[in-house]
Homo-oligomer: 353 residues x 2
C-alpha cells in the first residue's frame, strides 16, 4: 500500500503542469495532507523530489512550498543501435536530456563504449543511473534476446549479455525493446499529452508503437506494431518477407521519394485498418514521415475518411511527431525513468541499502 501511494504521489507531481504543494497533491489524490507529508518526506529523502522556495500566494493563507522532481535523482540511460549510427543519451528524472552522444560505427563493441562514456559523463554530474534501455530495429523476445533484426543482419543476438561484459555496465539493469515502441514512448512524453495513439515510424522498414492509456501495448510476445507487413495490395509487389503487397513496398523510404501519392494512399489503407481494429483516435507520423507530413497527410486522410467505419462519428487526428531522429533513444531513456516513476518504492529500497 505504501508502495502504491508513493507511486501515486510521484505520478501526481509528474503529471501536474505546475509545481504542486503537499496540499495540492492531497486534493488531487484524495489522501490526507498528513499522509502526503509523510510520503513526500520519504521521496525527498530518497532524492526523487525537491522542495522549492515558497511560491507567492494570491490570497490569504500560509504560502505553499512547491515540490518538483529532483534533477539530481536517478537518471535513465537510453541506447540505440541502428543501420548507420549508434546513439546514447542520459535523461534525468525531470525528463531533461543531460547528455547525448552519437557514433557512426554501429557495432556492439562501439555501443558498449558509448554507453560507458555516457555513464561516466553522468557520474561526473553526480547522476546515478537507474538502468539502461536499448532500442533495436527488430523483433525482441522477452528477456531481451533479439530474434531477428534484418537491417542489422542480426539473428538471435543477446545484446544484454554483450553489454554486461563492459565493466562499467555490469551492474546496470538493462532492457531491450523495439525501436518503434521506444520512439512511441518518447513521443508520449514530448507530444501533446495524448495518452492513446499509434506512432508510425517510416525508415528503411516501417514500424509502429501502440500506446494505450499511457502504456505501451506490446502484444502476446512483444511483437506488436508490425504495420510494415500489413497487406495493402494482396497481389502486389513481392516483399522481402515473402508475402505480396506489404505496406513496406508502397510506403518505404524508397517509394515515399518516388511516388508520394501512392505512399500516402497505401499508408491511409493500412492506418484505416489500425483504427478500425483498435479504435485509436490519434496517429503520429514519425521517423522519415515527419518532415514530409504536409505532403503525405492529405492523401492519408482522404483514404481514412472513406475507410474508417467510425470516421463520421468522431474524427481521427493525424499529426507529425514532435521528436526527430532521436525519438527512439529519448524514448529508451524515458522508459527507464518511467520505471522509477511508476515504482519509486523499489528505488528507495535500493538507496537505503
Amino acid at each position: 500500500m505504501r508502495a502504491h501511494n508513493l507511486a501515486l504521489v510521484l505520478q501526481t507531481v509528474v503529471n501536474s503542469a505546475d509545481r504542486p504543494s503537499r496540499a495540492a497533491i492531497a486534493g488531487a489524490t484524495g489522501l490526507t495532507r498528513a499522509t502526503v507529508s509523510a510520503l513526500v518526506d520519504d521521496l525527498i529523502a530518497g532524492g526523487l523530489l525537491t522542495e522549492q522556495g515558497p511560491a507567492p500566494r494570491n490570497g490569504a493563507g500560509r504560502p505553499a512550498t512547491a515540490l518538483a522532481l529532483s534533477p539530481d535523482g536517478p537518471a535513465g540511460l537510453g541506447l540505440e543501435i541502428n543501420v548507420d549510427y549508434l546513439a546514447a543519451c542520459v535523461v534525468d528524472l525531470t525528463g531533461a536530456v543531460r547528455y547525448h552522444f552519437m557514433d557512426r560505427s554501429p557495432t556492439l563493441a562501439g555501443l558498449g563504449e558509448l554507453a560507458a562514456r555516457a555513464r561516466a559523463a553522468a557520474a561526473e554530474d553526480g547522476l546515478a543511473l537507474a538502468g539502461a534501455a536499448l532500442a533495436v530495429p527488430g523483433l525482441v523476445a522477452p528477456g531481451g534476446l533479439v530474434r531477428v533484426a534484418p537491417n542489422l543482419g542480426w539473428q538471435d543476438v543477446d545484446p544484454i549479455a554483450y553489454l554486461r561484459r563492459t565493466p562499467a555496465l555490469a551492474d546496470l539493469p538493462i532492457t531491450v525493446d523495439n525501436e518503434a515502441n521506444l520512439a512511441a514512448l518518447g513521443e508520449l512524453r514530448a507530444g501533446d499529452g495524448e495518452p492513446t495513439f499509434v506512432y508510425v515510424s517510416g525508415e528503411v522498414g516501417i514500424g509502429a508503437g501502440i500506446v494505450i492509456d499511457g502504456d505501451l501495448y506490446r502484444g502476446g510476445r512483444g511483437w506488436s506494431g508490425e504495420i510494415g507487413h500489413v497487406t495493402v495490395y494482396p497481389d502486389g509487389r513481392p516483399c522481402r518477407c515473402g508475402a505480396n503487397g506489404c505496406l513496406e513496398q508502397y510506403a518505404g523510404a524508397a517509394m515515399v521519394a518516388e511516388d508520394p501519392a501512392l505512399a500516402a494512399a497505401s499508408l491511409g489503407i493500412a492506418l484505416s485498418a489500425v483504427v478500425n481494429l483498435l479504435d485509436l483516435d490519434v496517429i503520429v507520423l514519425g521517423g522519415g514521415y515527419a518532415p514530409l507530413f504536409a505532403e503525405l497527410s492529405p492523401g492519408i486522410e482522404a483514404e481514412m475518411r472513406r475507410r474508417v467505419l467510425t470516421a463520421g462519428l468522431a474524427p481521427v487526428t493525424l499529426r507529425p511527431a514532435s521528436l526527430g531522429a532521436d525519438a527512439a533513444v529519448r524514448g529508451a531513456a524515458d522508459a527507464v525513468i518511467r520505471g522509477v516513476q511508476d515504482d519509486p518504492a523499489t528505488w528507495l529500497a535500493l538507496q537505503a541499502v
Copy 2:
C-alpha cells in the same frame, strides 16, 4: 487494501482448477493463512464462497476444507437483441447457465418482458441478480447509448433508459456492449483458458472481440474490433459503409456460402493484419464461421503463413469457437459475474445494507 485482497482471494478460487483450501490460497497469493482466513470468512458471510466437506488427504495432517464459488451467490443476467431473435440468460457465480430464454420477435418491448421473466425465474431459485448486460450488434458509446446498429435500423437508441421503464428492472445496474465483444468474453470462459486471443464473429456483419490478458480491449471510444471494414482489396466491391473492398464484402454470410475459398483468403488477409499489428497468437472463429471451420481454416492458414511476419518464429493457432449462437448472451451474463468477481468488496457492502 481489503478490497484488493478480497478480489485476490476470490480470483484465486475462480482460477484454480480444483477446489482450494485456505492454506492453498495463502500459498498462491503470498498472504498469510491468518489473513486468508479472515477474508474467506467475509466472502462466505457474503454468500460468495461456500465450504465443502473435508477433502480426503493423501498423507498425514488435518484434511483441508475445500472452498468453492457459491451457486447461490449473485447471478448475472445476459441479454441480447439481434436481427431475428432475442435472448436472455441467467448465469450463476460458478459460471453455470441456470436459465435461457429466447424469443423470435426482436423488439425492445419484447426484450424488457423477456428480461423480467428471466429475473422472476432467478428469484424463484433464490438467486439475486448483480446486474444485467445487453449485447447489441452495433457501435455502443460509453454510457450505453447505441450510436448505430445498421442491421437493427437503430440510430442513437438508449436501450438502458428503455429497459429501466420495466418495473422489474428499474433497480438493476445495466450495461450495453457490442455483440462481438461480449461473445469474446463468453469464449474466454468457455474456451481453452487462453487469456489472449481475438474472437471473430461472422454473421450478417463481421465483428471481432479482442481479449488481452483476460480483459476486453475496447479502444479509445469502445469501437474496437471492426474487422468487417478492414480493407482487403483496395479497389474491390463497394461496401454499404461507403468504402471499397471491405472484408465484409468478401467474407460476409452471403459470400461464405457462395465462394468459401475467396472468403477464407480474404479472412486470412485481414487476420494477418490483426496478428501483425497486435501480435495475438490465438484466433477463434465464431458465429457463422464455427460450423464451417474445417472448410475455411486451410485457406485462412495458408494466407497467414505467408503474410504474418512472425509466422516462422512462433505459430498462430486457429480454432473454432466452443460456444454456438448463444456466445453473446452467455458472454453478457459472464460480464456481470466478472464484475462481481473482480470487485467483491462493493457487492459485500451492498449486501450489508
